[in-house]
Symmetry: C2
Subunit: 612 residues, 2 copies
């Protein structure tokens, strides 16, 4: 123990030195938060964890999630001390051309998932642990380092509940209880017992330790590893700024780098010199590669007269996709009988995870699964995806290959009323960089777009509706991302109506009414809202007096209408938007479409107003 202890102690000192040097060089960063966790990280990286130093993505590597992402310099220092990156690189921290960013992102190959928005790491780790225990059947463990202040985040407790429910003994958390948040003391200061009691109440094994004493850290990690059916939370009492006298537990040092010169020199003097100490990292188990083949999805198969909701098409499509692609997994937030994710569950129960009413964790776990090579389809009501918008935002920074499905969009859900209506979800997802936003209008396209989503590398959002609608397309129709369908056209078209989902059906009804009055309009199904088919929109506009009318079961801002506006922004095309104005209310679906101005008759009226 003594040799090991001294070895880890010196490595920890090296980590401290690197953290201080890097942040001082950058002129910004969070050195004191690195200092409190340095001993823990030393024990993890140079003793407890097994990983292949040449392969960040080795499927059996133990995984590490830095939930307290602002300790990034410590993470990078660990990889330098493991011999994976040159120590000189550490001083490029935060520079515009460095892979070592202020908070970890996948630009640094060893970052499992991007962090920095607190309270998400445990969910991310949970996803990886689910994968390890139930999908890959690998023996890897997932270590998540949390700050104490961040355990105020509800996301931590969503993950805590699910982790014990799923008996994730391969998930090991460490809370760094340094008692200082960003702007003041945390709620519980150094009260380690309270943290232990809470995680215990949530079904975890807990161990309270002195986070600077390897004689407590190492046995705690051993105890954690020995667990057979519970996740473990190690609650470590530490001092922010530990190792430097004037920083230790001192106020007002959060997020401050030491100034070069006297301040920095004094700190370095106290820590002593860097010592070159080679390490031997335990290797992970070798990979047993079993690649199940992918096949084509079964095609859509609806009787032509059947009315099927697009959420129904999603359910069927997802189940078929699961049969065709063994990497596809599904997660849902206790809405599977509404989103129809249950059809996947019934066919592929070992690849379905019920995540209960906890959307932050639903998304976070999905991100973790995506980073472990699965293709997760994460579903709930569109409205409730707003509960996880921070996690969705971070999934883009993590470059996660994750698919989101939001059902019950718009006022067309009817009597349940506004709390259940997704009316800002297109705006949410359009604002996610590089996200694909798809909005099928019938069950055939819904099925096809599920497959397109899986084939696409990156974030995809699928928006589905509650009401049953007619089948619009032949079973062999294809729906490439970035395309659209011109569903009605003639040489006499006066304007083009652009819509999707329920509103498309209203547009088709309006087309019929107008045709009977001798007014021809073009109708476009804009099933791909991002990327949008700019070419087709411009072509249609050019042939219809440069007038587009957009219709959507969504608020006016940020949705389909704005996507169309954006596509034609630099041209002389006029766009008239119909959308849901005001705060919606309960009522029958057809009444609400009328009341909120997106019904067939509203479209008819707008066409007439515009061509007058």
């Amino acid at each position: 123990m003594e040799t090991v202890k001294n070895f880890l102690k010196q490595k920890a000192t090296n980590l401290r030195i690197h953290s201080i040097l890097a942040t001082s060089e950058a002129g910004s960063g969070h050195p004191t938060t690195c200092l409190s966790a340095a001993d823990i990280v030393s024990a993890l990286f140079f003793h407890a964890m097994r990983y292949d130093c040449s392969e960040p993505q080795h499927p059996n590597n133990d995984r590490f999630v830095l939930s307290k992402g602002h300790a990034a310099p410590l993470l990078y220092a660990a990889y330098a001390e493991a011999g994976i990156i040159p120590a000189e690189e550490l001083c490029t921290l935060r520079q515009i051309d460095s892979i070592l960013e202020g908070h970890p992102t996948p630009r640094f190959a060893w970052t499992e998932v991007a962090t920095g928005s607190l309270g998400q790491g445990l969910s991310l780790g949970l996803g990886m642990a689910l994968n390890g225990k139930y999908l890959d059947e690998s023996d890897y463990r997932v270590y998540v380092l949390l700050g104490d202040g961040e355990t105020a985040e509800g996301g931590v407790w969503e993950a805590a509940a699910l982790a014990s429910y799923y008996k994730l003994n391969n998930l090991i958390g460490i809370v760094d209880v340094n008692a200082l948040g960003q702007s003041q003391r945390t709620m519980y200061a150094f009260d380690v017992d309270t943290y232990c009691q809470r995680f215990e109440a949530f079904g975890w094994q807990t161990v309270g330790i002195d986070g600077h004493n390897f004689e407590e850290i190492l046995p705690a990690l051993a105890q954690a590893k020995a667990s057979t059916d519970k996740p473990t939370m190690i609650v470590a009492k530490t001092f922010k700024g530990k190792g430097v006298s004037f920083l230790e537990d001192a106020d007002n040092w959060h997020g401050k780098a030491l100034a070069k010169g006297e301040e920095l020199d004094q700190a370095l003097a106290e820590l002593g010199p860097l010592q070159d100490i080679p390490v031997q990292i335990e290797s992970p188990m070798p990979v047993v590669v079993e690649v199940d083949p992918e096949t084509e999805c079964e095609p859509p198969d609806y009787p032509p007269d059947e009315e099927v909701a697009t959420r129904g098409g999603y359910g069927v499509g997802l189940a078929k996709l699961g049969s065709a692609n063994p990497n596809v997994v599904a997660l849902d937030g206790d809405t599977k009988n509404s989103t129809y994710a249950e059809q996947f569950m019934e066919l592929h129960p070992n690849r379905y995870f019920e995540m209960f009413i906890a959307e932050q964790n639903l998304v976070g776990a999905g991100i973790g699964l995506a980073k472990r090579g699965k293709i997760p389809f994460v579903s709930t009501f569109a409205a409730f995806l707003s509960r996880a918008y921070d996690q969705i935002r971070m999934s883009a920074i993590s470059q996660a290959n994750i698919k989101y499905a939001g059902s019950h969009c718009g006022v067309s859900i009817g009597e349940d009323g506004p709390s259940q209506m997704g009316l800002e979800d297109i705006a949410m997802f359009r604002a996610i960089p590089e996200a694909v936003v798809l909005y099928p209008s019938d069950a055939v396209s819904a099925e096809r777009l599920v497959a397109e989503a899986a084939a696409h590398e990156g974030i995809v959002y699928l928006r589905t509706s509650r009401p049953k609608t007619v089948i619009l397309y032949d079973a062999d129709e294809r729906f490439p991302i970035g395309g659209c369908k011109v569903v009605q056209q003639s040489r006499e078209d006066k304007v083009t109506v652009v819509a999707a989902g329920v509103a498309l059906h209203e547009a088709l009804a309006a087309h019929e009414t107008l045709a009977a009055e001798g007014i021809a309009v073009r109708v476009i199904d804009l099933y791909s809202i991002k990327p949008v088919d700019t070419e087709a929109l411009m072509a249609a506009a050019a042939e219809t007096n440069n007038i587009l009318i957009t219709v959507e079961d969504h608020y006016p801002e940020g949705g389909l209408g704005d996507a169309v506006l954006d596509a034609v922004a630099t041209e002389d095309v006029r766009v008239h938007k119909l959308a849901v104005t005001g705060i919606p209310r309960s009522g029958k679906p057809e009444e609400l479409l009328e009341y909120h101005g997106i019904s067939a008759s509203a479209i008819v009226q707008k066409v007439k107003d515009v061509i007058a």
Copy 2:
């Protein structure tokens, strides 16, 4: 006890009958979830709670939050049985012209706050409890009825932690443990002990009871009322569908109304007839009205050469507002030394609430405070408001007079990197119906807009920046909501550049560069993004070749550019958008502005491209 018990039992039966009748009439709704909670609601409304039946907004009424909002019919039935609304009205449930919606909204005057998105009620109640205990110093209590499935939501645990931290003995929760979620059994089924242990670990007094036995319900409520320093959670074991044999604890009945005819008749036969039983509701304490006068805010007062960040202007402005308006309160999520809410805290400590790193609860509590007549300013980093987007969405449905402030917007925060950058926040808030979205460009306008926000009735979002910028405006300049400022203009302007925040300063620098090259451009400060000054934009476009260039430190979708596009959508105005494309990264602020194409030189180049 026996008389009271029988009285409450029959009232509960009436509640059950009403719930079933109303949902069957509507053809939709959640009767079984009403049935599990009917006894609890009877005890609350007809025994434990004090309220003035003629005054829903009486400041000293006990308050009730139906966190499990889908039990709305039960809530309405309670008010009918209290004699407040006519029983006949109950059968208008969910109709388009009824105030009794599918989930409660303030269209029904007795709805404290809109619910229906699970896991938010405890935060809403916490806000009301904070108000009662620390601001109004009223003796009212706040009762929150939660479902068991919804305690998986992290928001519940954020509220739980804060409630015990703030010793909110006036907050009483009841969890209705009926063991059935929407699509399956909950994680813990009838394990009441687990719920008790968890809330105890979070510092609550807990009582486990049979939720259908008044001999346990009433003493539990008495025990809760007697608490002097802890909130209380009553954990009630119940059966979904209780009172109707074929519904009790039965699968697949969530969200299903009984069919009229045999099904309904059988249920009603089992429950017996409605009994007309008058009630006597205990009155609240009389109001002692002390209205502190409002005064004008002290004007901005910056030395002309000083550089001040707009977040700095927010801090100063909020503190001044606190001095002028006694109803203003402030809440922050452990970022007060970054958002500068700390300046309000220092001046008005009794009206500042530190909410720690828990943004869902930060917003939920703010909504609760708003509904109790305060004007809450809720602040954190703009990026972290995404953590509470569901709560923000619901605040609109609640018609809450709440102000949101998001700092550290855009890439201009620099080295901390993308996890800390608010880049989709304008899109988020634009999509909120009737929200006002303000984006000051200097400290003077930031201060003024804080006051404008307070004067405005409804949701306001203020977006502030990290970097220091020059003062643009005189201290006596005014900034009406819906206006803008033309900060540079001439008769030779070739195009108009529309910007705000940091990008406005880049636009002004570009203006200078272009002027030196003989190219004149108009520059507009679009400090009011919603509502937007359509008239001014059209006027500027008309005088500058119908070309607008927008620039924003925000993603391209949903932000300032889209607001401008929307304003000129139906006209022949061309809009060229500059915004942050791709996933941002760490770097110096000025480098990032350049890298992401929103710098002065990018604007110069775009102007030249466009006029070529």
